[in-house]
Symmetry: C2
Subunit: 340 residues, 2 copies
């Protein structure tokens, strides 16, 4: 049998479709007896309202589009988990569309969302802003997550990468590191660029006169391994490593340890993100509460959809330095307490 429609219910309850709609949506201009009849009929028929038709009529879909690049494990799930949590709290569905980093999939994915979502959450750390601006349907409210730059006209939420990097360097210097190497992320990635920027600024500030050392990476574990091998062949006096993300920090850590280098005694290591593995390897890192970012993103978008005006347009998520074994030198706590 085909699914029952509102007309079937109306027929069965011997009322008009309008009354069915009113009764089922809890409007008060309907007699109790009528409402009861309608509800009974709906139950008997196993009637479920057709969300598509409903949203066409109401011109709102109660769904949010989520456009993400190919993300690495934890980052993806945490982000979506946070979004989902807040979305279901607010009564919205999430419509997912991964766009693969390359290609011109972004515009396509965004267009296809028109008419099925009320707003979109876009994460595109690699897409140039003008391309993004062009691809975004002008009428569809959007919130940008980690966009390469703050598009002035679009609300956004970003990680405060510089603050995180500064905290990490400050801490490394605080436990006595001087020649600190930065394993950088991919150049086209805004987070990577900002973390490097934070590194340079922090070095100038906390370790003035000491020349910064950069090793180019790509956020993959192998890059950290490569950096470690490089150090093993020519140490250049490096006594600290700040990697642009945890995976590279982990690669570096494992390779150094395997070669017999004492961490943190000879070389201290800090990462960025606080992936679950960081805790197991006791890696010092800048914690990014990804789920929280997802929640905030949804909350802000829904607020806007529901007419609440925003005070802040561009929000920054503050990472939190988590000190663990890879930097926990003998007297680190004490030194940290003394402000450096």
């Amino acid at each position: 049998m085909a699914e029952a429609t509102i007309r079937d219910v109306a027929r069965r309850a011997k009322v008009s479709v309008a009354s069915v709609s009113r009764a089922l949506n809890g409007l008060n201009n309907v007699r109790q007896a009528t409402r009861d009849r309608v509800i009974a009929a709906a139950n008997e028929l196993g009637y479920v309202p057709h969300a598509g038709a409903r949203s066409l009529s109401l011109s709102r879909a109660n769904a949010l589009g989520v456009v993400l690049p190919d993300l690495h494990g934890e980052f993806f799930s945490e982000l979506v988990r946070g979004m989902d949590r807040e979305a279901s709290r607010r009564g919205y569905f999430l419509l997912l569309s991964n766009m693969h980093a390359e290609g011109d999939q972004a515009p396509t994915a965004l267009r296809a969302m028109h008419g099925r979502v009320d707003g979109i959450l876009v994460m595109a750390p690699h897409v140039p802003p003008e391309m993004l601006e062009q691809a975004l349907p002008s009428t569809l409210p959007a919130l940008l997550i980690n966009a390469p730059v703050e598009v002035p006209t679009r609300p956004s939420i970003r990680i405060d990468n510089e603050a995180g990097a500064q905290a990490a360097i400050r801490h490394l210097v605080g436990i006595g590191c001087r020649r600190i190497l930065h394993i950088a992320g991919p150049e086209e990635n805004i987070d990577a660029r900002e973390r490097a920027e934070g590194y340079f600024k922090a070095m100038a500030r906390y370790a003035p006169g000491i020349e910064p050392l950069l090793f180019p990476g790509n956020f993959e574990e192998e890059a950290g391994e490569a950096a470690a091998r490089d150090m093993l062949s020519d140490r250049r006096g490096v006594d600290g490593v700040f990697a642009a993300n945890d995976m590279m920090a982990i690669g570096c850590l494992q390779t150094l340890r395997a070669a017999g280098v004492q961490v943190p005694d000879e070389v201290a290591i800090a990462g960025f993100d606080d992936v679950p593995m960081a805790r197991y390897l006791s890696l010092t890192t800048c914690r990014v509460r990804i789920a929280e970012i997802g929640e905030r993103a949804v909350a802000r978008l829904v607020d806007r959809l529901e007419g609440k005006i925003e005070r802040v347009l561009n929000e920054r998520h503050q990472p939190e330095l988590v000190v663990r074994g890879t930097t926990a030198g003998a007297n680190s706590d004490e030194m940290a307490e003394h402000g450096l």
Copy 2:
């Protein structure tokens, strides 16, 4: 300005809406000149078809509903990643709805999908089958992932937990373990139950006469730690551990090692899942290719939606034993090669 509709395009191109629809959808019964005019007009107006209206008219939404419980990190993202990959390949969107383990959210979530998706993928390892069957809209094609039992009328995809458990035990016995402890998962979880079942069967088969040892757990790391503490206080001759998932295996491993127990020499440990961390900790485990399950699930559902009949109704995903350091005894490879 409001979004342009098909009527605006029609007006601008001086044709009927029917022609616009035909032209834009690539039907061939439209003159080239007309098509050009329509396309030009559409571009000028920045016209994007309204997916909701389209799907109402076509009575198909090009979207799949995904109903998942609260999953732990890697499992969730891998599953969704696999689904998304296949879905975008096939031209479908994913509509996400986490249902939280408790509550009667399942029926609600499922109902709300009516009219916005063409089929649903449901994962509900904890929901009793009759409740599930009742909640599933009878007209909406569904594919069950890890359902508690194979509902005969519903296609499903499951992990072959028994096979995985048997392989693990066989391997442990093969490297010389005899008194093997099983750290079980939650009782209401079908995977956990099947893994325990596999453990019992395999013990009877590969270590006949040796009494099985069970420690109740809940898939959380802490349960593994508790099991380890239990062993530390009373070893009972345990020389092998098979945990129902990696997290518990990891908890056990860390706690034993911290207490100075040599793994694998004194106690060998194997888990289940092959979470990313397993590789770092060199944990032997049964690999479940989660993304692959997601892909298969989408592929099968879409096939069905598109009229391809299925030969297999209930499919089992075969885990693969991955031997690593926590069981790699001196002569394990050799013994494994000799078939035991």
